[in-house]
Assembly symmetry: C2
Homo-oligomer: 267 residues x 2
């Protein structure tokens, strides 16, 4: 079930044409969790209160795993009641509630065979090699039963569990900041071409890239004294920064051809 | 009850002389929470699972207050069961578990008289003026019953509740980063004098400041091929950056005089 409550104003109605392919909420959630290494583990204390603890984690498949000391309050709580959740959020947005966040709910179990968890965890948390073999430390897994995704204002859903399990982290996510900065710093003219050719903003002259993923990219487009979002899809999903460069160059050729054809066909 | 489990190695034994006055855990926790504006609110869902939600908050006195929509999962949970906690953590340490964190546990109530909460919240969250008067938004308060403080590896305690309630945010905290950077960039020689005069490291020649608070400052001191921490207290608590400058200048005079007296009294 999705909700778009508190979508802001009609000023923000997208300029997008059609319904360009975009990541599902499952893919967005998986990408978000896969990019973070810390979160809040909520457990139940002896009085039945939900206790939030700051923890390090890694994804082992679609479930988060933890390396925790039996001395920790959350571990003692889990020994008594396995019910838990892990909240993971993005950082960096000026308005904090624009940051995406995901809550993974399920029961936690201490792992007797921890080979897979150990490998996944130490790949992300090198500093844990210092205490991984301390006798009071063990690996635990949260077996995800339900997933709450909030992508920012007005983009939220309870995810389909299979959708979470089968989703892959977006391979472009770790490169997105660099690509966006490069496009905005060096190719402002290209962005104007994309917007004029592939969105409703056929006369804009001020466009910035705000996002990119394997399926396409997002623009903030100046129109009528305001700014509105637009999305443009790639013909095929991309997987690498090289793919991104080739596809964006190719799209620019198409955009220029389309704008030129329109210009010469006008009276 | 405090624990120092997993303190690291004897290499890290402080070079401190005596027991210089330092912030209590209550003061450290209050300063930490007062410096942050977001946290994880843990509530109980219909199945009794603890659900973590990313929220904005402000301290109104010693209790956190929230502005939440009745559409939010956590608000629906609180309508059914008031038990909750707020986890707040620092960010920025290279090793995430070196970040301090505080869990405030208690029951949440929707405020009918929200004047004080509104003022405290909007002072910190200007962007909330946009939706503060939406009909589905209300202020809630978490009435703190217990407080868990973890200051990093091996510095943790359940706080005395009166200690939490009566503690004040350290007035130097918001200036600490700037003071530390200035001292390390421009006054490395002064730091060596402080360490030689006021710690056990009487021959060190490499010292950096790592922390400052109203009661004193912390150094990382090179000795015998390693680095060890040391703390030096001010004679009187300070309250402003100007106090810090005057006190550090005065301490440098004392340190130089002490080192000179020692030099001239040596054979």
């Amino acid at each position: 079930m999705s909700s778009n409550a508190h979508g802001r104003t009609s000023e923000e109605t997208p300029l997008t044409i059609g319904e360009p392919k975009a990541p599902t909420h499952g893919e967005r959630a998986r990408t978000l969790v896969g990019a973070e290494t810390t979160g809040t583990l909520a457990t139940l204390n002896n009085d039945g209160f939900p206790h939030g603890s700051y923890v390090t984690f890694a994804l082992d498949g679609s479930d988060p795993v933890f390396l925790v000391s039996k001395l920790a309050a959350h571990t003692q709580n889990l020994e008594n009641d396995a019910r838990a959740s892990l909240l993971v959020h993005e950082v960096g947005a000026t308005d904090p509630l624009s940051n995406g966040r995901v809550t993974l709910l399920g029961k936690c179990e201490r792992l007797t065979d921890d080979a897979s968890a150990r490998e996944a965890f130490l790949a992300v948390h090198k500093q844990a090699e210092y205490y991984v073999d301390f006798s009071d430390f063990s690996f635990w897994r949260l077996a995800v039963q339900s997933v709450r995704y909030i992508g920012g204002y007005g983009r939220m859903s309870w995810l389909d569990l299979d959708g979470w399990r089968s989703a892959q982290c977006d391979p472009i996510a770790v490169h997105a900041t660099g690509i966006i900065q490069h496009m905005n710093d060096d190719h402002a003219d290209a962005m104007v071409c994309y917007a004029r050719a592939f969105t409703r903003a056929i006369e804009t002259d001020d466009v910035v890239m705000t996002g990119i993923d394997r399926y396409g990219f997002e623009l903030s487009v100046a129109v009528n004294g305001g700014r509105r979002p637009a999305r443009i899809a790639f013909e095929e999903p991309i997987a690498t920064p090289t793919d991104a460069r080739k596809t964006l160059v190719s799209l620019l050729g198409s955009a220029r051809a389309q704008l030129e054809a329109k210009r010469t066909s006008s009276p």
